[in-house]
């Protein structure tokens, strides 16, 4: 009467194996992701520590010069949205060229 296994019971081991595979794969992905995050965090911590060390007072002149340039670059990147390169003379993309016009000028550009 009950010799045979119900279909659901008979299929369970395969389903378990499949779930187990999925879990193993997910764990492996998580492990890889954790490694990447840890590596990134370590690299960032190193970079910030280096930056902080350079920013601290007491450096000799050459080191301080390097800091100045780094700070300026960082600031430009941080203010790109609301203050583009207009406040700096650092390299910028070429401007749109002027064109000849016949319209009456509103202002003169000349020496002052």
């Amino acid at each position: 009467m009950c010799r045979g296994h119900p279909a659901g019971v008979r299929d369970r081991p395969e389903s378990d194996r499949s779930r187990s595979h999925a879990r193993d794969a997910a764990l492996a992905r998580l492990k890889r992701a954790t490694r990447v995050v840890l590596f990134g965090a370590t690299a960032l911590a190193g970079a910030f520590a280096g930056l902080a060390a350079h920013s601290a007072p007491g450096h000799h002149k050459t080191a301080a010069r390097t800091v100045t340039r780094t700070i300026r670059t960082t600031t430009q990147a941080a203010t790109t949205d609301d203050a583009p390169a207009t406040t700096s003379a650092a390299p910028a993309p070429p401007p749109p060229p002027p064109v000849v016009t016949q319209a009456p000028p509103v202002v003169a550009s000349g020496g002052s």
Partner: protein, 310 residues
């Protein structure tokens, strides 16, 4: 659109400030922003006010870091960037030699001085490497003997800042000119902002010279013909060659350059005056449209600067 343009000009910073808006009703709001920026700029960056932040910073050279306000910090940063971008051809540490040469007061007073009896002297330019800027701390340190003159870049910075602030406040496209150094921001009128290129920024607008239209960025003209003064038998001008500490010996009367901003344009036009004959190649290599006028009157166009009358 052209018919709706409205403009105003007035004396400021020892030169002329001009403001133009693409929508006439925006003029009051834009004007208020320009006034505010000019007041801040003068208080922060003037070399001729004892109470300016720059004067206090210069007086503290050699004493270590000095806390400065955000605008002077930005102006020093822009000046150092200009120095780096031009390999030191534009150097903010020319203040001392400029003062010895006779530019030691507002220019209107320099012009009133008896030039025949005045004797100029010159000093070595200490170099922009003697300036240390710490933006997070908000401090600037000047090495002993360093005296900053931000004239080359601060006016241009003021034009950029004022144009941006005015367009934000008014919602209109805006052009700001400070002594002929021009910044535009916001939507330009149809056909762009029409500008006369002249030897003197105070030239009449119906006078001779090519007319070009700008849609973005900045345009600056540097020249040796306007800001000149007498020192005995010599005639001096205000653009110092940092390599010699003396007014630049240059074949160019004026150099006009278009840049991504007025600060970029000003740094390049000033550097071109100092560079002399190498200037066209230097500008070309940087992709900067430019117009150079020799003492002889010969005109040289660089890059995408349009042919006159074309």
């Amino acid at each position: 659109m052209i018919a709706e343009l409205a403009s105003v000009s007035f004396p400021a910073l020892g030169t002329t400030a001009a403001l133009c808006v693409a929508e006439s009703e925006a003029l009051p709001a834009a004007h208020a922003e320009l006034d505010r920026e000019l007041e801040l700029l003068d208080a922060a960056c003037s070399r001729f006010r004892d109470d300016s932040e720059l004067s206090r910073l210069n007086a503290a050279a050699g004493t270590g870091p000095v806390l400065v306000g955000p605008l002077l910090l930005e102006a020093v940063s822009a000046a150092l960037d200009a120095a780096a971008a031009t390999d030191g051809l534009v150097d903010p540490t020319v203040g001392h030699t400029l003062r010895l040469a006779g530019y030691d007061r507002r220019f209107v007073e320099v012009k009133l001085r008896d030039g025949q009896s005045f004797r100029a002297s010159f000093a070595t330019v200490p170099g922009w490497e003697g300036v240390e800027l710490d933006r997070p701390a908000g401090t600037v340190s000047l090495a002993e003997g360093v005296e900053l003159d931000l004239g080359a870049t601060a006016k241009a910075l003021g034009a950029d800042r004022a144009a941006r602030a005015a367009t934000l406040a008014s919602g209109s496209g805006v052009l700001v000119s400070l002594g002929g150094d021009i910044a535009v921001a916001g939507p330009a009128p149809d056909g762009g902002w029409p500008v006369l290129i002249a030897e003197d920024h105070a030239a009449p607008l119906d006078g001779p010279g090519p007319k070009v239209a700008l849609v973005a960025g900045g345009l600056a003209t540097s020249g040796t013909a306007v800001r000149r003064w007498q020192a005995g038998e010599a005639t001096l001008h205000h653009i110092v060659d940092p390599r010699t500490g003396r007014p630049a010996e240059t074949p160019w009367r004026t150099v006009s350059v278009c840049g991504a901003s007025c600060v970029h344009a000003n740094a390049a036009s000033t550097a071109a005056i100092v560079l002399g004959e190498e200037a066209p190649a230097w500008l070309e290599a940087r992709g900067l449209p430019a117009r150079l006028v020799r003492d002889s009157g010969e005109v040289v166009h660089v890059g995408a600067w349009p042919e006159e009358g074309g």
